[in-house]
């Protein structure tokens, strides 16, 4: 008893340490890359880093909220591409962008609800439920809409696509504006809303939250629906920027990997209950800079994957060391 109490004390004090370590590493990388990589420390490249990381940040917001509630959503990327597919198909076939957006949001709310239903009402572990729903969604979309293809090409001339890749204010692109909006929404949800209080309570101690009479099931629905909507926004931004919806993002797993990396490196423990906006920003900064540096250094994607894997293992080892597991988390199961 005293040992776990002491361990938790260390954990909570050092939880802030992981993000501080990551922040220091990020600064070190910025200095190193500026010194040794040509063209890293230019205004143009900084804008590239920012615009390339908008969808990553949006997805990380969704994942962070899920993980703080002691859940996990492995279907985020599947939701992202399928949401973008719905939007693109409707717009290409002549529907107004607002209508297409509405349909896509409705579809994502449904997906988020099904995930939450499987987890909170049926009682399937989050990892399995979302893995299964990811498979279902991608399979269904590739079969029914893409007819077996991997890629849905978008006409560049499409007004909705033009809007999503354009500027909303001078110097502020639509993706950046959407990213800021998502960050603000996450902040409001976690820090000011009723659901936010319950999300932290569930993440800290799910059984206690249930016995206290908190609406844990409804809150699970809020959490997974929120994640699904952030995934949709990320999908819209990505597809507009690249001119295609690419289902290979689901199957190669790199993006999901990066999202979990952002959350874990930001210092949000996988067992939940802690973390906030600053953790997302810290984690995202490191991954965005790492990605950009690796690309500028002409690392092959295989090399990049190897490095990513290494960084994730390292982060989880540090996370486990700073937030020791105890019998309590073992019985609940944090993954």
């Amino acid at each position: 008893m005293t040992e776990t109490v002491f361990g938790n004390l260390l954990g909570s004090r050092e939880a802030g340490m992981l993000e501080r370590v990551v922040l220091v590493v990020t600064f070190a990388l910025v200095v190193l890359f500026s010194l040794f990589i040509d063209g890293f420390a230019t205004a143009g490249n900084l804008l590239v880093i920012l615009s390339n990381s908008t969808s990553l940040v949006m997805l990380s917001c969704g994942m962070a909220v899920v993980i703080i509630s002691r859940g996990l959503d492995l279907s985020l990327i599947a939701q992202m591409v399928s949401g973008a597919t719905i939007f693109s198909i409707l717009v290409t076939n002549g529907s107004p962008a607002a209508f297409a957006l509405l349909v896509a949001v409705a579809a994502m709310v449904l997906v988020g609800f099904v995930n939450a239903f499987l987890i909170a009402y049926v009682g399937i572990p989050a990892m399995l439920a979302t893995l299964a729903s990811a498979m279902c969604i991608t399979g269904l979309f590739r079969f029914a809409i893409l007819r077996g293809e991997f890629i849905l090409l978008l006409p560049k001339s499409n007004p909705a696509v033009l809007f999503l890749s354009g500027n909303i204010l001078p110097g502020v692109t639509v993706p950046v504006a959407l990213m800021i909006a998502t960050l603000l929404a996450t902040w409001a949800l976690l820090s000011y809303s009723t659901a936010g209080r319950i999300i932290y309570a569930m993440g800290d101690n799910y059984q206690a939250a249930r016995l206290t009479g908190l609406p844990v099931r409804t809150t699970t629905v809020v959490v997974y629906v929120f994640a699904a909507v952030t995934a949709l926004l990320a999908g819209l931004v990505t597809s507009a920027a690249s001119g295609a919806v690419d289902f290979r993002t689901v199957s190669n797993g790199t993006l999901l990997f990066d999202v979990i990396l952002v959350v874990v490196l930001g210092g949000i423990p996988l067992r939940g209950g802690r973390g906030g906006l600053k953790n997302i920003l810290v984690g995202a900064a490191l991954i965005a800079i790492l990605r950009n540096g690796m690309t500028l250094m002409n690392f092959t994607t295989q090399m990049q994957d190897a490095l990513r894997g290494l960084v994730l293992i390292l982060a989880i080892v540090i996370d486990n060391y700073l937030n020791p597991r105890d019998t309590e988390t073992d019985t609940v199961g944090d993954l």
Binding site: M1, T2, V5, N8, L9, S12, Y192, S193, T194, A195, G196, R197, I198, Y200, A201, D204, N205, Q207, A208, A209, R210, L211, T212, G213, L214, P215, V216, R217, G273, R274, E328
Partner: protein, 498 residues
């Protein structure tokens, strides 16, 4: 019995933190004797057995086997000396067959399934056990699992077998069979220690009986020197018998209508036709041994446990209810304060104010989007003052508080919901002495405000001092009911044990 003892403990103490589970205990086990250990919950019986079986190490004192001082670092060391323990919760691997379980830990590099099975069959037949060696251990009944464990001990050539409440899960015939077996093992020179709450078993089957109370060895002697009355006397002690008549508080006349009535609640094999009523303004104690179904019935009422619900009816204020979720029970004004606050009581990394505020939010939060944080904080501070919760700051995590103050936070989290019925499950467990009195006072004044209170406690003095009416649970039913005036430690214990 002039031979030297096969196992002896000399002045052994085992402490956990600051509490002594076993204090300065001396105990001898002679070869070929059947020795019963009796005592209340938490008297130190299991601790004593685990020390002998090498599961835990003594903090002080000496353990001798055959007169030689030994230091066990694991159950494997003890088993090397021929000591085997059969636990209440069996330690069989459910996915393996009976035969594999019997040979567990003694496998050779290559095992012929047939040879292992036939060897296992021989062991089982010698003990007259009707168990199929090829069956999976997980599919066996409790009695058969126990048989397999005993067979394993016999196969391992155990000289000492320790049985932790072996008869708790057995039918009368199975119990008879078990004691016949113990007698025949005894004839082969095996010494047996068994823990029991059934005093008659101890009196009729044991050669000697040892009584433990609060971690101390009270007495040891031949079974013939004891009777049920003297055993109970040793179990609860003189002080309690002296002080049992606490002046009864002046109670207002009981209102005719119960706030809660349950009838024939059944759940799995633990709660078996439990019926009782709880009246407002009264503290109703629920005494009984661990495993008698006290906490389980509370969790059924709350809607926390749905699995294995076997039927029964619940009325709250005369209206029949059946909750599928604790949130529904909370909305109707019932609160349950857990026996293990760290496991499902409080949110350890959240602040004192946040913990208490979440209780309010659960009942009165409604569907608004923004959390009324200022209001939650003000209310939380109010309750911190009301229950005099002492902390270095209401914005500090609950984890930094003492056990007593943590418990008060959990109580505040429930009382802020203005419930009409609160179930306190072991409210003073792991609480510092000063806070115990305060918590009992909180419970009393809450009942005085006209609410119903169920107090579940394993600690008899707490039940006797705090409750207006006492229900005693035994094997999942209410075995007895006492008014405050009639109740005594001896009568409660007599009703709780078999």
């Amino acid at each position: 019995m002039t031979a030297q003892p096969i196992v002896s403990l000399e002045n052994v103490t085992k402490t956990y933190g600051t509490t002594a589970a076993l204090a300065d205990a001396t105990f001898d086990l002679m070869p070929g004797e059947i020795h019963a250990l009796v005592g209340e919950n938490g008297a130190g019986k299991s601790t004593l057995c685990k020390l002998i079986a090498g599961v835990i190490a003594p903090s002080e004192g000496i353990l001798k086997i055959d007169g030689q001082t030994v230091l066990f670092s694991s159950p494997k060391d003890a088993s090397g000396h021929g000591i085997s323990m059969v636990y209440q919760e069996t330690s069989l691997v459910p996915q393996l067959t009976v035969a594999q379980n019997i040979f567990l830990g003694r496998e050779q590099m290559f095992n012929s399934v047939r040879r292992v099975r036939s060897a296992a069959r021989q062991v089982l037949q010698r003990l007259n056990f009707k168990v199929d060696p090829a069956q999976l251990a997980g599919t066996l009944s409790a009695a058969k699992r126990q048989m397999v464990e005993i067979a394993r001990a016999v196969h391992n050539q155990a000289r000492v077998i320790i049985l932790d409440e072996p008869t708790a899960a057995l039918t009368p015939e199975e119990t008879d069979h078990l004691f016949d077996l113990m007698k025949s093992l005894q004839r082969n020179g095996v010494a047996i220690i068994f823990i029991s709450h059934a005093l008659e078993e101890a009196l009729s089957y044991a050669d000697r009986i040892s009584v433990l109370r609060n971690g101390r060895m009270m007495t040891t002697g031949p079974a013939a020197d004891f009777n049920r009355g003297t055993l109970i006397h040793h179990m609860i002690g003189d002080e309690l018998i002296e002080q049992e008549k606490v002046p009864a508080a002046r109670r207002p006349p009981r209102s005719a209508l119960p706030v809660l009535r349950v009838e024939n609640i059944r759940m799995g094999s633990i709660v078996n036709n439990m019926s009782f009523s709880i009246f407002p303004g009264e503290i109703t104690g629920l005494a009984g041994l661990i495993g008698s179904g006290r906490s389980e019935v509370a969790k059924v009422i709350m809607g926390h446990t749905k699995r294995n619900f076997g039927g029964g009816r619940i009325w709250l204020d005369g209206r029949e209810v059946r909750y599928g979720l604790p949130a529904q029970a909370v909305a109707d004004g019932i609160a349950y304060i857990s026996e293990d606050r760290k496991l499902d009581g409080f949110f350890d990394t959240l602040s004192v104010a946040e913990n208490i505020g979440l209780g309010w939010l659960a009942k009165f939060g409604g569907r608004r989007f923004l959390a009324p944080r200022a209001k939650m904080r003000t209310l939380a501070r109010e309750w911190v003052d009301r229950l005099s919760i002492r902390s270095i700051g209401v914005e500090r995590p609950v984890l930094y508080l003492s056990g007593g103050n943590q418990q008060k936070v959990v109580i505040a989290k429930s009382l802020i919901q203005k419930p009409k019925l609160v179930i306190f499950d072991e409210p003073t467990r792991g609480v510092d002495v000063g806070a115990i009195a305060e918590i009992r006072q909180i419970i009393r004044s809450f009942a005085d405000s006209g609410a119903g209170v169920i107090l579940i406690s394993s600690y008899l003095p707490e039940i006797l001092e705090t409750c207006d009416r006492i229900l005693v649970a035994k094997s999942g039913t209410i075995a007895a009911e006492f008014s405050r005036a009639e109740a005594s430690a001896a009568s409660i214990l007599n009703a709780a044990i078999h």
